[in-house]
């Protein structure tokens, strides 16, 4: 059985016929049947932890190799990847990528179960399974976390389904449960993507549960769950994670003050359209144009804009940004319509032209519409260009039928922009979402300082920007518990900005260990976007990846057959240990939420927000809803990390006390002996 299930080397780069998708395909391209697709989501502290459980079935009469792929949503990082071997969960560990490949090859050569989960340059995960028996099932579990995107106080959780080119259709549909909590009161929970299939129950003004059973056409749309938060004035949320005697981690989510809304300056929006030859394929240029026109429609009059079409060289509509009034917009539409694709892609020239326009110190948003980075060798130069872009400049990306979505998403992440990807039917919707993210910062060049508590390793380091209605999250580490005075300084409009408040850093907090991974992911992302990826930087990425279980182009998840195999290769069970902490924390939250649900089984105020009869599947959606979520596997627990007897300061004090007592008694005994003699 083990030999039959042995999993060999991961494809380090996507095979051309494989698209980024949640699926398992045989080597000959045959899609495996998806028997079970269950998703449980827990949203808290502005972070969503998504548990995906999938069981694939080999429908063929032959033993075959298969490749698993999964496209992560933006701003997400893998927490864990498990494969079930003979019903037992094998938790993956992150190791240096080349070492992982070597271990995997050796194990596979000895007919042992081994697998590598690699993350491409960004968000696509791939796993090659060497052998699945005829008509056998393969169960896979993936946990990942993502930052919740909030724009104009509208928070959005996204589960990717739309980008599957050949989506496996589970026989029983997709079963999904979303437990969403918010630190601030929520006024409206909704599911615009599946309004008739998502059953939302509100249990308090800060907690709601969405239950979805999607079938048919519901499986080819991203699941989008949104809620409107009422923000606090200047400080939205503060969360910590600290184990005893270790550095603590925190996340601080900040918003610009309400009073600064009037200072929100108008934007210069630079729209860059790829018109290289590859854009002629599959109507990509037509879709990109449609998105571009939608972006134009949504530009407010106060903003200025310019359009740069590029292939080998950039062609600008105007010599500088112009006011977004209707006359100018009409000129733009006339400019866009005749554009045709030809030539090759020269990103550097286009981005360079966008950054060099007449800006007059206004904040700028560059929006790049492209089908991908054909010249992958240009990435370092592009990174360099992005790193030296003018201040207050974000870069957002709209990918059109691209395999480079990870690169585009990382460019957007690193510059404070956002990324969207056009699936076949929604070029305008994608553009509208990007347009809603084009917000000028209310506070720029912001810096944060702490006194009273030793805080270090802030991510992003500084400076950063604060927006009105769009939170900025800062992650960091702290040494010891205490109350810190926090000061934020920056520039709001032309005026200096200063805010102070106090924060309490606890000595022990095990409620949100995911903050530690998020800090590590932010740091890895920043290093990956560094203009120069030299040896020490790569070493740092590898160390961070191994310490915080972060898959990257230099680290991979390695799954081995059993604990002895890990011990044989001296691989510590760091991730298994982390997962235990994570599950304990989630269990605690789940029990709290369960008690809330018990208090009002039908929700508060009789609110049962379900839209009816909009979809042909509405009538069947609720019948098969699970009564409760099934957040965790009931499989055997994860293997222990390395063991140690740990003497600590407390035991050190006890030992010293024993020494002192012995010495005192010895002196007393000697004295009494001398007196006696």
């Amino acid at each position: 059985m083990k030999a039959a299930l042995s999993i060999a080397l991961i494809a380090l780069f996507l095979a051309p016929h494989i698209c980024p998708a949640a699926q398992v395909v045989a080597e000959d391209g045959t899609s495996f049947e998806l028997k079970d697709h269950t998703v449980n989501v827990l949203i808290r502290n502005g972070i969503a932890v998504t548990h995906v459980r999938q069981t694939f079935h080999n429908p063929t009469n032959r033993e075959t190799a298969a490749i698993y792929t999964f496209a992560l949503p933006p701003h997400s990082t893998v927490l864990n990847f498990s494969i079930f071997v003979d019903g037992r969960e094998m938790v993956g560990e992150v190791v240096e990528r080349q070492a992982a490949g070597e271990v995997s090859r050796n194990e596979a050569a000895n007919a042992h179960y081994a697998a590598i989960l690699a993350q491409q340059d960004g968000r696509t995960l791939t796993l090659r399974i060497a052998s699945i028996k005829p008509h056998a099932d393969q169960r896979i579990e993936l946990n990942y976390q993502q930052e919740i995107q909030v724009v104009r106080n509208e928070a959005t959780y996204l589960y990717p389904l739309a980008d599957v080119t050949s989506p496996p259709r589970p026989e029983d549909g997709l079963t999904m449960t979303i437990d969403a909590t918010s630190d601030s009161p929520v006024t409206n929970w909704s599911c615009p993507s599946h309004p008739s299939q998502m059953h939302i129950t509100r249990f308090s003004d800060r907690y709601a549960r969405g239950e979805l059973h999607a079938v048919g056409t519901g499986l080819v749309r991203d699941v989008k769950f949104t809620w409107h938060v009422a923000p606090k004035s200047n400080f939205m949320h503060f969360a910590t994670s600290k184990a005893p005697s270790e550095d603590g981690y925190f996340s601080l989510t900040l918003l610009a003050d309400d009073g600064l809304a009037a200072n929100e300056p108008p934007l210069d929006v630079i729209l860059i359209l790829d018109i290289s030859g590859s854009m002629n394929d599959d109507s990509k240029l037509a879709q990109a144009k449609s998105s571009l026109l939608a972006l134009l429609d949504h530009l407010p009059v106060a903003d200025r804009f310019n359009i740069i079409a590029f292939n080998t060289k950039p062609i600008a509509l105007f010599d500088g940004p112009r006011s977004a009034n209707e006359t100018i917009k009409q000129q733009a539409r006339t400019f866009i319509e005749p554009l045709r694709g030809h030539g090759i892609t020269n990103f550097r020239a286009a981005v360079s032209a966008a950054c060099s326009g007449n800006r007059e110190n206004r904040p700028a948003a560059i929006v790049l519409l492209t089908d991908g980075l054909a010249e992958i060798d240009d990435l370092p130069a592009l990174r360099q260009l992005i790193a030296v872009r003018p201040s207050q400049t974000t870069i957002s990306c709209i990918g059109v039928g691209t395999d480079d979505r990870a690169v585009l998403a990382r460019i957007a992440d690193s510059t404070g922009g956002s990324a969207g990807f056009i699936s076949d039917s929604d070029p305008r919707r994608c553009a509208e979402e990007i347009a809603s993210h084009l917000v000028a910062p209310s506070v720029s060049s912001a810096r944060i300082s702490f006194s009273g508590v030793e805080v270090s390793d802030l991510e992003p380091p500084a400076p950063f920007e604060l927006f009105h209605g769009k939170p900025t999250t800062i992650y960091g580490r702290y040494r010891q518990a205490g109350t810190a005075q926090c000061e934020i300084t920056g520039v709001a409009g032309a005026q200096p900005y200063r805010r102070t408040f106090s924060l309490s850093f606890p000595d022990l907090d095990d409620r949100a260990p995911e903050i530690e991974n998020m800090w590590g992911q932010r740091r890895v992302d920043r290093l990956l976007n560094a203009p120069k990826l030299d040896g020490p930087t790569i070493d740092q990425i590898v160390r961070l990846g191994e310490s915080y279980a972060i898959a990257s182009p230099y680290t991979s998840y390695l799954v081995l057959e059993n604990d002895a195999a890990y011990a044989r290769w001296k691989i510590a069970h760091r991730n298994a240990f982390r997962i235990m902490r994570q599950r304990e924390a989630e269990d605690a939250v789940e029990s709290q939420l369960e008690s809330l649900r018990q208090q009002s089984p039908n929700g508060v105020g009789g609110i049962n927000e379900i839209a009816r009869a909009e979809d042909a599947h509405a009538n069947t959606s609720l019948k098969s809803m699970p009564a409760t979520s099934t957040p965790h596997s009931v499989e055997p627990p994860a293997p222990r990390p390395p063991g140690a007897g740990a003497f600590d300061p407390l035991m050190g004090a006890v030992v010293l006390a024993l020494a002192a007592i012995s010495l005192a008694e010895s002196i007393r005994a000697r004295g009494s002996r001398q007196n006696g003699s």
């Binding site: 005697s245 011990a567 990390p641 740990a646 003497f647 407390l650 035991m651 002996r673």
Partner: protein, 230 residues
């Protein structure tokens, strides 16, 4: 400095005899030093300079089952991190000095018995532990052994009530810590640095049991031995 020679031995013919007596005196003084403790602690401190050696010494279930039985004893010399080592070896140094200068034989028996018992317990009762390092099982044995010695009735010395109460409080603190860790699966103050390891309080309990056995079945008390040296 050796003792002053007796006037009767100051003659030229007695020089050779005097020399041998000085050597014997030097050996006796040397033997009063906690040599075993110093050697073991020194080895523990030196080992991290050769990380591959630590891997060769650690408790590795697969390697043990393949016949590398020296790991039963040597795993206690290796550690996962600097802070892990500082606390474990530091405690061993203090406990070793207290114990070895009083009864070297009992000290050696306690160390070897605790090392073997902890490793065997890991092998037999914690099958999911693949790797283990650390001196704290031996530390626990030495600690309990010394406390039991101090609490045992002595014919040579009458212990004060305060002394006994203090020892009992220390014993309670030790048991409470081990019990709390065993109950909650968390460690108080464990510093794991970059090396994620899990504390195994059960090893402390096994070490403590060894300490009780050595203390109970070794009839000489703490202060009897001290008087012998004095």
């Amino acid at each position: 400095m050796g003792p002053e020679p007796h006037p009767s031995m100051a003659g030229r013919g007695n020089r050779a005899r005097l020399s041998s007596i000085e050597e014997a005196s030097f050996s006796a003084r040397l033997m009063r030093w906690p040599l075993i403790t110093m050697i073991i602690a020194g080895a523990c401190v030196a080992l991290p300079r050769w990380p591959t050696t630590e891997q060769f010494l650690q408790f590795d279930r697969a390697a043990l089952l393949n016949g590398q039985i020296w790991r039963l004893l040597t795993c206690h010399l290796a550690h996962w991190s600097a802070s892990h080592e500082i606390w474990s070896v530091g405690a061993f140094a203090v406990l070793g000095m207290l114990g070895e200068i009083r009864d070297r034989r009992a000290f050696a028996i306690c160390c070897i018995a605790a090392a073997l018992a902890c490793s065997l317990a890991l092998l037999l009762f914690w099958p999911d532990v693949q790797l283990y390092r650390g001196m704290s099982g031996v530390d626990s044995a030495l600690f309990i052994w010394l406390v039991v010695f101090n609490l045992r009735p002595s014919s040579d010395h009458r212990y004060s009530a305060a002394h006994k109460i203090a020892l009992v409080l220390l014993l309670i603190a030790f048991i409470a810590k081990v019990a709390w860790e065993g109950q909650t699966h968390h460690s108080l103050f464990v510093v794991s640095d970059q090396s994620s390891f899990v504390s195994l309080p059960g090893v402390h309990a096994v070490g403590g049991a060894v300490g009780i056995c050595v203390g109970m079945f070794r009839p000489r008390s703490f202060f009897q031995l001290e008087y012998r040296y004095n």
